[in-house]
Structures are given as C-alpha cells and as structure tokens.
C-alpha cells in the first residue's frame, strides 16, 4: 500500500486493518470431512443453560435425533450429528483455555449416517411467526458468528420490540477466517432464503446484508441471490476490524448507535449472522437441525488450509489431520486470531460456534515481551468504542479497578484492537478481562457479605427481641406469680373476724 493511499484511504475512524491471511484458504473449494469414528457432543454449546441429555448409554440414535433437550428460557437443544450408538455420557475436555471438563455425549458412528425422520416445510411464510421461532428453537439453531446466542430467543425479542431492520452480518472481519465467506459464495440462495424467513419471523420490513469489501465473490453471489427481493439489500462495508461486531456494523449500515444500556432491538435493529440464516433455512425448508457447520482450517502449521464441512462434536485433531499438519503447531486457536481462544490441546470437540481452528507455526505464535506504555495513543485511535485503553490499563496496573471502571471498562467489547496496535505489546485485553472478572467477583462477594451481614443483624435483632420477650414474659409470669402468691397468702391468713350475727339474732 502506497504512502498516499495510507493517508487518504477512507475508513471508519476506529478499528485496525490487520493482514487478513484469508488466502489461500478462502479460495479452496469447500470439502467435507470424512465421518469421524467418535463424536463428542458437548451439552453447553450456546449462551444459557446447558442442554439435558435425553438418551441412554448403549442406545442407537439417528442423525438429527434429539439427544439433549433445552433447559430454561435461554438454552438450545442438541441433536445427534450422525447415526450411531451412544457410547458414553460423561465429561470431556471443553474447548476452552482452562482445559476444564464439560458434560458431553459420545457417539460411536455406525458409518451409515442415516437421517431421522425430517419434517420439511414447503412454505415457511404460511406458518405463524411464532411457529418459525418454535421450529428454529427445536432445531438447536444458535448464533453461528461466535456469540452462540439461541436464535429463536432473538426472534421473539425482535417481534416483541417491533424491529424494522434485519442486519445480516457477513462482515467476517477476523483475519484467517472464511467460513462465512464460503457459505455466501457456495450457498447464497440458502442464506437469502434463510434471512427472508428470519425477516418474516421478526416482522422486519427490510434486510441489509453487510459484507466487507475484501470478499468480492461473496458480494457478487449474494447480489445474484438477493436480486429478486427488493427488500433485501447487499451492502459492501469497508474491510475494517471489528466491522463484524454488531454495534459497529449497525452504525456503519444504519447510522444508529445502540445506547450503552440497551439492546440493538430497542433501536429497531436485529443482527443475525449469514451462517445462522443458512441454518434457519435448513431447519425450516429441510427440517434439519443444526448438526454440522463449516469450519475454517488455517494457519502456518497447515499444509492444506481451507474450509471443511464437519459434524458438530468432531475432535479438533481429526480436522487438523485432514488439513495436513506440518511439524507441531505452536498454538491452537478456536475462532479468529483477534478474539479466539487458545485450545489446551487437539483432543477437544468442535461446537456450534466454532468458525475456525487455527494452527499457528512458531512465527505466528510469537509473543513479544511487554514493555512500558509510551502513551502513544494508538490504542485510543483504534478503539471502536471510544475508550482510553491506556488509561484503563494504568489504573488496573495500580489495582484501581474502580478507576478503570470510571473510564468505561464495562463498555469494552474485548475486540483486541488496542492490544493489536500497541507498540509496547502490552496485553491490554488480558488486563481488561482480569479487571472485569475481578470486579464482578468483588460485586458478588459484596452481595454475599451484605446478605451475611443482614442475616447477622437480623439474628442479633431476633435474639434481642427474644431476650426482651423472654424478660417480659418472665416479668409477667413473676407478676402473675406474685399476684397468685398474694392471693394464696390472703386465703391462708386468718381473715379479720367479723362477727356476723345471725339475722334472727339481730331481729331479736
């Protein structure tokens, strides 16, 4: 990029433009992973309560059969990703840096991949919107952009708040990832049909499909697919990270700003990811629950990077083998490099929100040593939320968490722009995650202490009251006793003798 281009290029006043590393993976044709022998399907693949298993060990299940049901208002059911026998219901390592265990159902695939009975809908627009939400919920569709919020819960919210605009998020601003790009190129018709079903389900009048301008093939394919529908507009947006963050995409496409304490739906907008829309299409038109997804396999340690169609629950190691690993990956990341999480090892399953698995070589995984902040202000210019990361970090470094909160810590979306641009390589996101966790822990312990103190005070008050009542009762009893004693004493003492003369005598 030339120096003048750098100065005069038009882009939003926030964010960063990392080297996107999307090629050659994005241009490699979509491949299907051969069916793994064992699938480990976690019960918690979404925001909300974990699903509850409804199958027994040894039971044979068909592909798409319900194996765990949703629990509570915000939750999602889980379906068998292939046909086979339930070989275990127990704990596996969760796809999380902690490496903690998580409940999962293990399925030994029978190789037949036989579907259960599916109930496709010919005309979803003839159904009631509530019925579409119900079917979407029953199919276990969650936000596939990474947030994994149950899609149907958002449908109902959108309908209740009378959302006018559906924003379809095809930004995919994270470097390395191309699963959304691939689904828009290969299944544009499914995406557009899905988003029209979502529009109908939430009662939106228009849909804006935001796609970063570094994906010309996806834009072209989506334009063709959406050409017949006047209320669906494909809108290229500048390739600028974090364009795929809902607040930034809403602002870029509609000019609306979501107030700090409000949800997007309250300003009349709802955001759904393109892959989520395609999953809604499959759930309705084909009656297929969410049992597979496109995963980008990328990174310097892979010899055949690209996008793979893989069943949910596939061990990461199977994906890596298929994509060809050269040497030992120096780091495994679930998601993109900007916000993705480090995997403890490759024996973890992929989940509904797994948009990519990155296997970094040593150069990509290099972590530079952090130096002192030189107050260059790069983080301030990069922050898409208008925060002052350097001020927050200096407060957190001095353990002044309240001070950091005063600089808007709670508005931080953790996008990583600040840490990305920091010339001193200060791990700013880690500072903020720590501070947010610590603040909420302190808040919880404060609530707990308050509750304890209240109980203690109530106990003291109760004891005092009881003592008072006891004393009062004792006093009363004593008084009664005294009265009784007095009465008894009076009875025992010889009464003053009154000579009562018999009336007859008196008469005489």
């Amino acid at each position: 990029m030339g120096i003048f281009e750098k100065i005069f290029r038009h882009h939003p006043p926030w964010g960063v433009h990392p080297d996107d590393h999307k090629l050659p993976a994005a241009n490699a044709p979509l491949r299907s992973l051969p069916l793994p022998a064992l699938l480990y399907v976690p019960m918690q693949q979404h925001v909300g309560s974990p699903a509850r298993p409804v199958v027994l060990v040894g039971q044979h299940v068909l592909k798409g059969q319900l194996i765990a049901e949703a629990q509570g208002n915000v939750s999602a059911p889980v379906h068998a990703p292939t046909s086979g026998r339930i070989s275990a219901i127990g704990e596996v390592t969760a796809p999380h840096p902690s490496g903690l265990a998580q409940l999962a159902i293990t399925i030994a695939a029978d190789g037949a991949d036989t579907w259960c009975e599916r109930l496709p809908v010919d005309d979803p627009f003839a159904l009631a919107p509530e019925e579409i939400a119900r079917r979407t919920a029953a199919a276990g569709v969650v936000g596939l952009g990474g947030a994994t919020f149950p899609a149907a819960v958002k449908f109902n919210l959108g309908r209740r708040l009378k959302v006018n605009t559906l924003i379809v998020n095809g930004g995919e601003c994270e470097p390395y990832l191309s699963s959304d790009d691939r689904i828009m190129r290969d299944r544009a018709a499914e995406v557009v049909d899905g988003l029209r079903i979502v529009m109908y389900a939430i009662g939106a009048r228009e849909a804006l499909v935001g796609i970063e301008d570094n994906k010309p093939q996806a834009i072209a394919a989506m334009r063709v697919a959406a050409a017949a529908f006047g209320n669906v507009q494909v809108r290229p947006v500048p390739a600028r990270y974090p364009m795929g963050s809902d607040k930034q995409l809403i602002q870029t496409l509609t000019g609306k700003e979501v107030p700090a304490d409000a949800r997007a739906a309250e300003v009349g907008v709802l955001v759904h990811n393109v892959s989520t829309c395609a999953a809604v299409h499959r759930a309705l038109r084909r009656g297929e629950p969410l049992v597979e997804r496109i995963v980008t396999l990328n990174g310097g340690a892979l010899t055949r990077p690209g996008n793979l169609l893989a069943p949910i629950g596939t061990p990461v190691v199977d994906l890596l083998r298929f994509a060809g690993v050269s040497g030992r990956p120096a780091r495994l990341v679930l998601g993109g490099p900007m916000m993705g999480i480090v995997l403890p090892h490759a024996r973890v399953p992929i989940v509904k929100g797994a948009s990519g698995i990155l296997a970094f070589d040593a150069a990509e995984a290099h972590v530079a040593e952090a130096g002192p902040c030189i107050r260059c202000g790069s983080c301030t210019r990069a922050c898409p939320m208008g925060l002052l990361p350097l001020e927050m970090a200096s407060r957190i470094g001095a353990d002044d968490l309240a001070g950091a909160a005063g600089f808007g810590l709670s508005d931080c979306i953790g996008c990583g722009c600040c840490a990305y641009v920091c010339p001193s390589h200060i791990p700013l996101v880690q500072y903020f995650s720590y501070a947010k966790g610590e603040l909420s822990a302190r808040e919880r312990s404060k609530l707990r202490n308050d509750a304890t103190r209240r109980l203690a005070e109530e106990r003291v008050a109760r004891l005092e009251r009881e003592a008072r009542e006891k004393a009062a009762a004792a006093a009363r009893r004593k008084a009664e006793r005294d009265a009784a004693k007095a009465a008894a004493g009076a009875a025992a003492r010889p009464l003053p003798v009154r000579i009562v003369k018999p009336a007859s005598e008196a008469a005489t």
């Binding site: 979501v258 107030p259 202000g377 002052l388 010339p423 390589h425 791990p427």
Partner: protein, 360 residues
C-alpha cells in the same frame, strides 16, 4: 495426537501490528537525520562533536540509572528513546557549545528528566526540553553564544581536530568575529535599542531568513524546510498525527499575522515566526512527544494551540528571544488536565458517560 508446544493460556489477540517502540524511535531519528546532517555541514566539526557528546551522555545517564535500579540495561537502551532524547537536546543547543554543556544536559535529561520519574512513559515533562531549559537558566552566557554558519570544507572552517579543540577546549580568539545573533535575538536587541523592525531587518547585518536556514541558531533552528520534511515523513508513517503540529503552527501564524498587521514595526512577520526559530522542530518533534502530550485528537489540538500561543507570547513579550522550550514545558504540565477534560465520547453514551436516549 498432535501435541502443541505452548505451555499456558495466551490471551487474544494472537496477532500484532508491525509497530514497536524501537521502530517508532528509529523512524523519528531517521526523520531528524537530514536536518542534522545539514546542520553538521553548516556549523562544522564542533557541531558533530557536541552531538555525540550529548547523545552519549544521555545514553550513559539512562544506563547508569538502570544499573542502580538493577534493571536489565541492554534491552531498555535498544528502545532508542535515550538516543532520541540526547539527539533532540543536541539539536537545541548552540552548535559550538562547550562539551560540558552537552554532558550536563544529556545526563540531566535522562537522569532527572526521565528516570527519576520512573523511566520511559512516566515522565511528566519532555526530558530534552527540561535539560535545555536547565542549561539556559544555569548557564545563560554559553547557551546564547551563537555562531555564524561556517560550512564544512569552507576556507576558515575548523577541521576535525580543531573542532575537538573548540568543543573540549576553549573557544578560539577569533570566535567574536564569528559570533552572531539569532534573528529573534537580533530583532529583540535592536527593538530594545529603539530601532524598529522596519529599519533593523532592512540593515545589512541583519540575519536573513532562508528556507534552508543558513544563519545563526541551534541545529534544529536552521533548516525549517528539512525539519518540516522530516515531520511530514512522520505524518505519512502515522507515527505522529497532524493535530499538534497543525494547531501549534496555526496558532503562531494567527497571532503573528494579527500583531504584524497591527504594527509591522514592532511585531515580526508570520514567515519569520514559522521559519526562523525552533517552531518547526517544536511542532513536529518536541510537542508531539507521546509521553508528555495528550492522547486524544481534541486534547492534542488544545495542547498544540497552547504551545503555539505561549511560544508567541514569550517570543514577543517574554524575557527570552525564543520560547518553544518553555511553552512545551508549560503545556506538558497541563497535559493531565487536558486529558481529563477531553475524553472521547464512548459509543452508546453521551459526553458525560450517561447512556444515550433510545431513539426508535
């Protein structure tokens, strides 16, 4: 199974931009190079010797402090910030200043100006300007002895060894003949003698303004054009933003044109104000110091305007002919206050931090 090598969790992001602190310092130094080399040519070997004595002292001071604190010395020195501090100080001294001025200034800049505050990123005041002002106040005579340009390879220019004699020994007897005044110093002394600017600037012995800067002054005060070119390079590389240089130069230009318009006999013109002193060096290299300037665009505009205004006031009505160093230090002191009142608006909140009203 494919094992991975990393030991513990590493937080996102797993990518970093190419920018590093040494890279920033290196580019700033590179941007200073043309003007510095031109200055070396203009004032000869004594200027070269003063430059390395000053930067060497600054680096030595930094290393000394790090040793005292039992911190690793080499990695910190490699960030290049001490070199840059010394370099900027050397550019602000009279080119034929004695060696001890460079030594005292260089040590003072990094020891008192920077490390005492806690090292890189912690100092409230620009270390180079702290040292320069200290020298100016403590040793007013050698700090205001300026040399007329005596370009290298010209007839009377001192050679390498003579240059060492000048820097480390005594000034030659012929120095009086070579001494000269800066344009601001000249204009001020003539004004105080009752000669107005219209006459004094027209006189033959008056220092000229040339864009290349062949006149008396410090290395950083002569070639405004080369300094500005270096500044534009930094702008292009996005190492600095336009806010501080623009606000500072525009403010100086505004007041200069206003006052010059009112009375050209008493007030110098815009061109002289912008091109003949330390305005360019100050605007692009001194006031833009990350550590001691505000970190938001609005704050930087306020800061730059403040530096420009104070520079003009000190030059015109103050006790010294040049005021950039004082103006920068005064505004450095105000930086925390400016930062406090120019916080950016947070997305979804108003300027006070309250959530926006819902506008359906």
């Amino acid at each position: 199974m494919i094992p991975t090598r990393h030991a513990g969790p590493v937080a996102a992001p797993h990518a970093a931009s190419a920018g590093t602190v040494p890279r920033v310092m290196l580019w700033v130094s590179a941007a200073l190079l043309p003007a510095t080399l031109f200055g070396f040519w203009l004032y000869g070997w004594p200027a070269v010797h003063l430059w390395w004595v000053t930067t060497g002292s600054a680096i030595l001071g930094e290393a000394f402090c790090l040793r005292l604190m039992q911190k690793p010395v080499a990695p910190v020195l490699r960030d290049g910030s001490a070199l840059l501090t010394g370099w900027l100080l050397a550019l602000s001294l009279p080119p034929w200043a004695p060696w001890w001025a460079g030594v005292i200034g260089g040590l003072f800049a990094t020891v008192i100006g920077k490390q005492v505050f806690g090292g890189l990123g912690q100092n409230l005041f620009n270390p180079a300007m702290v040292a320069r002002v200290m020298l100016l106040i403590s040793f007013p005579v050698p700090m205001t002895l300026w040399t007329a340009p005596l370009p290298m390879l010209s007839a009377n220019a001192p050679g390498f060894v003579d240059g060492l004699r000048i820097t480390f020994g005594t000034l030659p007897a012929t120095f009086d003949a070579m001494s000269s005044a800066t344009l601001f110093g000249y204009a001020r002394s003539e004004l105080s003698r009752g000669v107005d600017l219209l006459q004094s600037l027209a006189a033959t012995q008056a220092p000229t303004i040339s864009l290349l800067g062949e006149r008396a002054g410090s290395l950083g005060e002569t070639s405004s054009l080369l300094i500005a070119a270096g500044g534009l390079l930094l702008l292009g590389l996005r190492i600095i933003t336009w806010h501080i240089p623009f606000a500072m130069l525009a403010t100086i230009a505004l007041f200069a044109s206003l006052m010059h318009g009112i009375d050209p006999a008493r007030y110098l013109s815009v061109g002289i104000h912008l091109l003949s002193g330390a305005a360019m060096l100050g605007a692009f290299f001194i006031a833009t110091d990350y550590v001691t300037s505000p970190n938001t665009a609005v704050g930087q505009l306020v800061f730059g305007a403040g530096v420009g205004f104070l520079t003009y006031v000190i030059r015109t009505w103050g006790g010294y002919p040049e005021g950039v160093a004082f103006a920068v230090l005064l505004m450095n002191a105000l930086t925390p206050v400016i930062d406090r009142y120019t916080r950016p608006r947070i997305y979804g909140r108003d300027r006070r931090g309250a959530p926006l009203e819902i506008d359906p």
